[in-house]
Structure formats: C-alpha cells, structure tokens
Symmetry: C2
Subunit: 214 residues, 2 copies
DNA sequence: ACGATTGCGTCAGTCGATGACACCTGTCAA
DNA sequence: TTGACAGGTGTCATCGACTGACGCAATCGT
C-alpha cells in the first residue's frame, strides 16, 4: 500500500517532481510535526508510523531510535561543521579557529524552520536535554581529533581531551542561548565571548606555546 | 526505608544491627554485583529483583529507573562535594576554589570498592557513557549557582553558564582519567592542570577582575 | 484497639525496540 | 523469458523498561 504513494511515481519518467519524499523523509516530517503539536513524549512511534502510512516496524528500519527521527537531517550540518573546522588556518589558535568556524558554519547553514521546531521540541521536553548532552559528547571525539592534529599531540592526550570537552560544553551553551533567541542574536559574538572565557586567547597557537598549560 | 539506617535508630533502643539491609540496599548491592559480572545491558531489572528476593514492581518502587540503581549511594558524595564547594574561601578565584574542593572532597570521600565497581561498569558499557554525560549536566546547574554567587551575577547569566559548563566538562575528563587509573594518579594534580587549561588563573576573582572576560 | 500508613505482591498493560518470516517489485544476467 | 537477487515493506511474536490499579499484611499513631 505504501507502493501507491512512492513507487507509483517512480515510473514517471517525465519531469522530476520534488514532491516524492522517501519514507524516511515522510516519517521525519510527520514526526516533527506531531512532536511540535503534542510534545515528544506524548507521541508514540506507532502513531508516527501510522501518520506516515507505514508500519511501526518500518519506522524502526529507518530510524534506530525515536530520538533519531527527531534529529533527521542534522547530520549533514554536523558533518559540514567538522569540515569547516578542518578548513581553518592551521596557524590560528584553537579558540579563534573554533569561533571562526562557528561563524562561517552559521552563514553556510542558517537556521531552517525545521531547526527551529526541533529546538522548540527539545526545549519543551526535559527528558530530551539529557539526550542532547549525550549527543554532544560524541562531538567531543571529533574536536579532540582536530585539536590533537593542531597541537601535534595524540588524540587521547589529557590536555587535548580537557580542552575539547570544555569547548564542546561552551559551544553547547552558545547554541542554547542562540537558538533560544530563535537565531536573533549574533552567534559569532556569543561564541567569541564564550571561548574567551574558556581558553586563553593567544596562549595556544598551532604549535602550542605551552605558556599556560604547565 | 531510610528509617532503617537513619531514623530507625531512634526507636531501636537495643543494639543496632548493621546487617539489616533495607530492600533498596539489597537491590543496589545485588545489582552492582550482577552488573560487574555480566555487564549492565545483560542484566534485567527482573533478575535483579529476583536476586534480591522481591518482585520487579518493588524494584521500580525503590528506583525510578535501572540507571538509578547503579548510582545508588552516590548522592551523598555529590551533595557533600557541593557543600565543600560552598565552604571554599569566597576570595579565591573560581578555578582555584574548584581545584581545592576536588582535592578536599577526594580526601573526605576516597574511592570505595563500590565506586570502583561502578566505574568499571560504566567504562565497559558504551550506552552508559551517554547516560553519564546526562548525569553530569545536572551538576552544571549546581555549579552555575555557585559561580553566580561568587561573581554576584544571576544564575542564568551567559558567562556564568559557559564557565559552569566548561568546568563541569573539564572535571568530567579529570574524573575519567583518574578513575580509569583506579585512583592511582593524583587527582589534585589532574584537576589543577585541567582547570589551568580552561580558566585563566587569577583572571577572575570573587569580584570578577574582568581582565580576560570582556 | 482502630484507622492510617507503609511495603510489597500480582496482574495487566504501554511503549520502545528487535528478530523471524513472507511478500512484492525492480534489476540484471543467463 | 526466466530466474536469482536485493530492497523495502507488512505481520507476528517477543523482549525489557516502566506504570497503574487493586489488594494483602505488618506496623504506627493516637
């Protein structure tokens, strides 16, 4: 029966119709809509599946967990951010480069309506703020790799891990503050301020000055 | 339930028998043992309940979630740490006071066998590291209050939240590093090093110097 | 002694998540 | 054309965390 909506369009070799959302797309879209209207916890995966016209089993074939359907579509932005990060001038201090990356990424990936909805859902669901924290921690590894490369130190170096953890945490607060304003405030300004608080500007350069890292 | 250990002493005029573990105590003890032996994910709440001689329903009457049974007994230490924190000299810079608190708390609450087991369980259960992150975030609020008081700023001040988040994250790495060594390394040294990396020493005092925070 | 509280058992049910099996459809090679 | 194969799906059954409702028994306060 799902073939009616999806496969029915496939043989259509004429002009491509952008309105041929995949099952995953439909699930994510419908889910976000339901989450916004009734709250994350009040919506069951079975409901989402039904609203998308598929079985619950199919839901879980596309999204390993309920949380993943909420974050569908954010992976590209995350990956892009990492890329921007590695694109920064290796001579810049870590903090400065991170601020630059946040600003540039904001330009390349401005807030979309779906992002705003997502933030709304997260902010109105206490149990989700925990999940967010867990999500963020995964980014720590990524940032550790980046810092380790710049400092020419191993990834699991204590200093590297500490700074990565601190920066990820600071960035989380920045994004929180920013997204709770709906993207109105200048994220670059927030980032600059936050990172000045957390890392000594100029103390660590690409080669690591070692000034304050005793 | 707490009556057995604390208030239970009042009516108990005879000798107090320490070998009268409450149901919660028994559940937690049995659970930790099972977790260590077979892994957190391989042990069901029903098993824990059975091993403790109660029904599964009773398990959930004592512990809202499976995670809570693992962390049973850590609340006191956490509360004590907060107390130590507020006991620091208000004139000390935030970073320095935090390091002091970590050291003093370590002296007052050295690692117990159960703590070591807990760390082992957490470290061998990937899905739990996420949960840990979530747990840690709750501490952020506490630290925000503390910093806000020292800086005489509101709790939800941006700078306060950033520093709190960064410090909690740094502390998490410190505790990770320390507990993965079984408590062998000097946690004070780790803490000092980590916090020097994250906050400018001497830059912010009780009144906030504002030197590098502008 | 009596009503209230507390602790627990039992039963049934919800919800997230997974495994097993079968079906249908499109593709590609023989 | 035929047949093997893969991808996406439905159905059924089940697990495991967790909750609500009801009832029983020991204990506690007055």
């Amino acid at each position: 029966m799902a073939a009616d909506t999806a496969a029915g369009i496939a043989p259509d070799t004429s002009d491509f119709v952008p309105s041929a959302p995949s099952t995953a797309e439909r699930l994510a879209s419908v889910a976000l809509d339901l989450f916004v209207r009734r709250g994350y916890d009040e919506v069951t995966t079975a409901e989402i599946a039904e609203a998308a016209g598929v079985s619950q089993r199919t839901f879980f074939r596309h999204f390993p967990t309920k949380l993943d359907v909420l974050f569908h579509g954010t992976e590209e932005a995350s990956a892009a951010f990492v890329e921007v990060l590695y694109g920064r001038d290796p001579e810049l201090p870590v903090g400065r480069a991170l601020v630059d990356a946040i600003i540039e990424h904001d330009r390349a990936f401005p807030l979309r309506p779906d992002d705003v909805s997502r933030v709304l859902v997260v902010r109105t669901t206490p149990s989700l703020s925990d999940a967010i924290a867990a999500y963020e921690v995964r980014f720590e590894g990524e940032l550790s790799r980046w810092i380790a490369q710049r400092w020419r130190r191993p990834e699991d170096d204590f200093d590297v891990r500490v700074l990565a953890a601190a920066l990820v945490a600071a960035r989380r607060v920045v994004v929180e503050e920013w997204s709770s304003s709906g993207g109105a405030v200048d994220i670059g300004e927030l980032a600059r301020r936050a990172i000045e608080l957390v890392s000594v500007p100029g103390a660590e350069t690409s080669g690591r000055g070692g000034a304050s890292v005793g």
